[in-house]
Subunit: 640 residues, 2 copies
């Protein structure tokens, strides 16, 4: 079968498995690959807080400080907590692995369901908000958000099918570029304030039409919802602990340090952007009408407004900001393109997912997982019309489910280490500290999970609450199926293979030509107990012709002719074979099928339809083996 | 493989081929089956004439008389001409067969291309105009023409997959109903005129805004174009001559008489409808604005207007007319559902089309042809947005190409009969008469073809002028491919099958379990010159486990382990097999593949991906035969 060359052009030449070692990552490449998701989410986290508080009007915007402070605190705790995981699991400590080892199967599958859902959402949310950064700079593209988003997912898919090393290089530029431009923006803002400038966002004077008045419990809930929405800043933190094996040695230390660097960058950028948003009086709302603008007016993201206000007439820097923001957001989806296929492969290894997800493709990536993720993300983007505010409602639940399970698992992990008598004393002090950090992390993320569930359930999150159990049940079902099959095919040690007592062979004859003669010679070489030829004739004339042609080659074996007025082949042959296979003196029956092999895909529909259908049906006939004797036509022969 | 039950519900239980004889048609059923197309086309033929003449305004409508008279004359000639074909070709005398026998391959393939295109158009045009009859009665459905049309094509497809006999019964009612209601309408009109009533169509007082002034040559061309459009009344006349073998004996006489009956009905109905349209001053135009109505006003077909005017307050009869018109039009598509698959089957028999089109399905119809036709028609309906006026431009060219070729072929046929010395004298007089009829038919249809080409080319017919040569070239290509293959597989008589000198067998081992042991026993039973087992191991641990499991069953044959760090199976196994197959002492190499067989479609993706891909690749390795030893899991075992 010739390979289609388009594949080679798009994903590159196949790599040798021996080269997998070469794809280990230095820290400076690991950071952009694993951290583009948490870093980039600062691009929209502040805006999501403002959007929720805007429901209560301008007067509630000061609550942003509380929500942001809580998020910064949470971020520090979660990063510290996951650093422990890097040390404990140098082989990769994703929520699934940690839960499986410490909390058992149910917790592990729950974590896996949560992670799978969230990987898909990471792709959808990141790509859609990346496209929003583009349309903030170029409003003319506002009508093509779905097309652009899908296009970027396809691009990412192709890049990931090429393999992890090359991806790292491509991703380094926008990620580091994003961090740099954000810090430059902070510096410019600081200098301008220091020199007495007052900076105001373009939306600072727009009113915000409140949806209602929030007091008492309502106000608390709204603030909690704003906090929950801002927690998107935390998504993807677990990517590094998952990817420890991809680091260079010392793997754990390098991973933990990269995680700390990421945490520092995230916290400072998120804080800075929030401070500027408040200082510039950025006003945002889900719909332009709530800002007193006509419906359909293109609006800019909060970050774009901050950038435009800060850089003022330095348009170049504003467009650079939008470009790197879009770049890092779209590449953030790459975290999922690393994590999803790897998790799917682990699940497949544990027989919770179809076996194909376990295989690496010829570029040493889990190609099937990459494609599956892309399809799911495209479906979500199209179904939600590429609207970030709707997609983001589904997000975060899964993240915090896996955070909570992972941290809880780590607490158990350290407890076991402490219980083990072999652990040295000086080590025990460290372990106590690690356990305390993970315990705080587990409690805090569990609390946030409850808050997210309460505040987001009716706003779309119920979809995820349905999807996760479905995935859970599906994975259990796959495992059960594999176990049933394993039980059915198990054999006791010492059982020996049984040679068939009598072996009958039937040669199928469509016409008397070279492929048939080749198969006949082959069948005679099997030296079976009996060998008969079988063909189908439409009428007497047809039968006579076949018999004559058969006799011409003097094969010395009988030709059985089945009568079938319209040369319908499958039915009569199948019935005959089934009858023979069920006969008392038959132990095993082989059906030899001469088959043309053609080299071009368009030649395929012109041949072998009967052979293909017959083979598929014969597989279901007990006691029958199917022997394909291919005859290569010129177009199928290998080029010498 | 379990049959999906939905198929049985939709298309019925499989029929025995022996029952094909039972499906022969009496004349009263043959008429609706083969003639719904020509009969139903009188429902729109008059309107198509009026639509073209309306381009010149009200004053040109009197030219309808000339166009209609020419069409009636043409119809008589063509019917007479095709009656001769019924007598000459009792085995079925479609344009393809007649051209092939008398004019050679090129003419035959030209006719076949024309017929294939026209069958597709018959389905599209008939169904769309049937839907127009429905929306004339129920204007609320006007927005759903595409959906309704596609729905009816699907319905027809299912009916035809059930088989010809049952179809006949369903079709008899609307066809005879249509004829009956039309004659009742004529009678009512006659009585009302006789009693001094004046009847006027609802559109009689609407102006017609002319597109231009037509004089001289322009006027002649416009009249010719009106005539060409009205020639749709002739489509489908050849269906009976194609279907002679489906008639009861005496086949030819019965067919010729049915054709004559059809001709009489068509001519009288077409004449009557045209007379009433002129008498009632029916005004129609392609767009309501040309009648001085606001754009988007739902308009009625000419026949609907005639019916509404004739039946006046007898609403029941008007709705009955629309119902039977819609019914007969939609069923007219059935002519194509009979003709297309039969022609495709003949082409496949002559190796101009893929072999699958030659097979009858389990309900004794050419299922593949039926499905292919339906797909093409649906594509046309969707592409042309179910607009009759646009679709009808593509129509008729193919009809007249095949008419002309068929009649010319008949002239040749009779000449050969006359040239044959064995023909008796009294017979020769008959033959002279028949030849004269066919010669007139050939000249006249050739003339009409030229007119149609000239007047319709720029209005869309160019599409057909492109499609026909493409089909022609495609069919030639298929034939050439089959011939190349036939030459490659041909063997001289007396050549004997050669038994392989040395037979090597490789057993593929994925894991050591019951399916492997079964295949091992089978492989040992082949008593080949060598037998080795082959497996793939990811690492030393994996290799050790496999070797131990293998040794436990003491098979006495060596296990070769290939190293593949990520258990990528296809590549290493394929390379090993290719190397072995190319070895000098190998004559033929059999690869035995143990395969799980599961019973549910959803279990399929969980298994055998490697086996399937490997089998496909091995077929292309010279000197290798592939032996599938299936192991039926519980879900795949036949129910006793």
């Amino acid at each position: 079968m010739r390979r289609i060359n388009a594949k080679r052009v798009l994903v590159g030449e196949p790599l040798d498995t021996a080269r997998l070692g070469e794809t280990l990552l230095p820290k400076r490449l690991a950071l952009p690959i694993f951290c583009s998701d948490p870093l980039s989410s600062v691009a929209y986290a502040t805006e999501e807080i403002l959007l929720i508080l805007a429901l209560g009007g301008v007067t509630l915007l000061h609550l942003t400080w509380y929500a942001a402070a809580a998020i910064v605190f949470l971020m520090v705790v979660v990063v510290a907590s996951y650093r422990q995981t890097c040390h404990a699991y140098p082989g990769g400590g994703g929520a699934y692995v940690v839960s499986a080892e410490n909390l058992g199967q149910t917790a592990a599958l729950t974590a896996a369901s949560a992670l799978l859902v969230d990987y898909v959402l990471t792709v959808a949310v990141s790509v859609v908000s990346g496209v929003a950064a583009i349309t903030s700079a170029i409003p003319a593209l506002s009508d093509h958000q779905v097309g652009l988003s899908v296009g970027f997912v396809v691009l990412l898919t192709l890049m990931n099918l090429r393999g992890v090393r090359e991806s790292g290089r491509i991703f380094a530029i926008p990620t580091y570029g994003f961090v740099l431009v954000i810090y430059v923006m902070f510096a410019v803002a600081a200098v301008r304030y220091a020199t007495g400038d007052t900076i105001r966002a373009e939306s600072a004077d727009l009113p915000i039409i409140a949806e209602g008045t929030f007091t008492g419990l309502g106000l608390v809930l709204l603030t909690m919802r704003a906090f929950a929405s801002g927690c998107t800043a935390l998504t993807g933190v677990e990517a590094i602990s998952n990817g420890v094996p991809a680091f260079r040695k010392p793997k754990s230390r390098n991973a933990a340090n990269t995680l700390a660097a990421m945490g520092a960058l995230s916290v400072t950028m998120f804080t800075g952007i929030t401070v500027l948003a408040m200082a510039y009086h950025v006003h945002v709302a889900a719909d332009p009408t709530e800002l007193g603008l006509p419906a359909g007016t293109p609006t800019s993201t909060a970050l774009a407004q901050i950038g435009r206000a800060t850089f003022g007439n330095w348009h170049f820097l504003f467009y650079l900001l939008q470009a790197v923001t879009a770049g890092v957001l779209i590449l953030a989806a790459n975290t999922a393109f690393n994590g999803f296929p790897m998790l799917a492969s682990i699940l497949a290894k544990d027989r919770y997912a179809p076996r194909q997800l376990f295989n690496r493709g010829d570029r040493l990536v889990y190609s099937n997982g990459v494609v599956l993720l892309a399809l799911a993300a495209v479906a979500l983007i199209v179904a939600f019309d590429a609207q970030l505010t709707r997609l983001i409602q589904l997000y975060i639940i899964g993240v915090f489910v896996s955070f909570t399970l992972s941290q809880s698992g780590m607490v158990r992990h350290w407890k076991r280490e402490l219980d083990s008598p072999g652990t040295p004393r000086e080590e025990r002090i460290h372990i106590h500290r690690r356990r305390a950090i993970n315990a705080v992390g587990a409690c805090l993320t569990a609390l946030v999970l409850v808050i997210v569930l309460i505040t987001k359930f009716t706003h779309g999150a119920w979809l995820v609450v349905i999807a996760m159990p479905l995935l859970f049940v599906g994975m259990k079902g796959v495992r059960r199926h594999y176990e049933t099959v394993a039980a059915q095919v198990a054999v006791a040690p010492g059982v020996r293979a049984r040679m068939p007592a009598r072996h009958h062979v039937i040669l199928l004859v469509a016409a008397v030509h070279a492929p048939t003669l080749k198969a006949l010679g082959y069948a005679q070489g099997l030296r079976a107990d009996t060998l008969t030829a079988l063909s189908v004739a439409a009428d007497e004339e047809d039968a006579r012709r076949l018999r004559e042609a058969w006799a011409e080659h003097d094969p010395g074996i009988p030709l059985t002719l089945l009568h079938s007025p319209y040369r319908e082949v499958i039915g009569p042959v199948l019935a005959h074979v089934q009858e023979q296979a069920a006969a008392e003196d038959t132990d095993v029956l082989s059906v030899v099928i001469p088959e043309y092999v053609v080299g071009h895909w368009w030649e395929q529909p012109l041949h072998n339809q009967n052979a293909l259908r017959l083979k598929a049906r014969l597989l279901f006939t007990p006691g029958v083996a199917v022997i394909d004797v291919p005859y290569l036509l010129e177009s199928a022969k290998p080029v010498r």
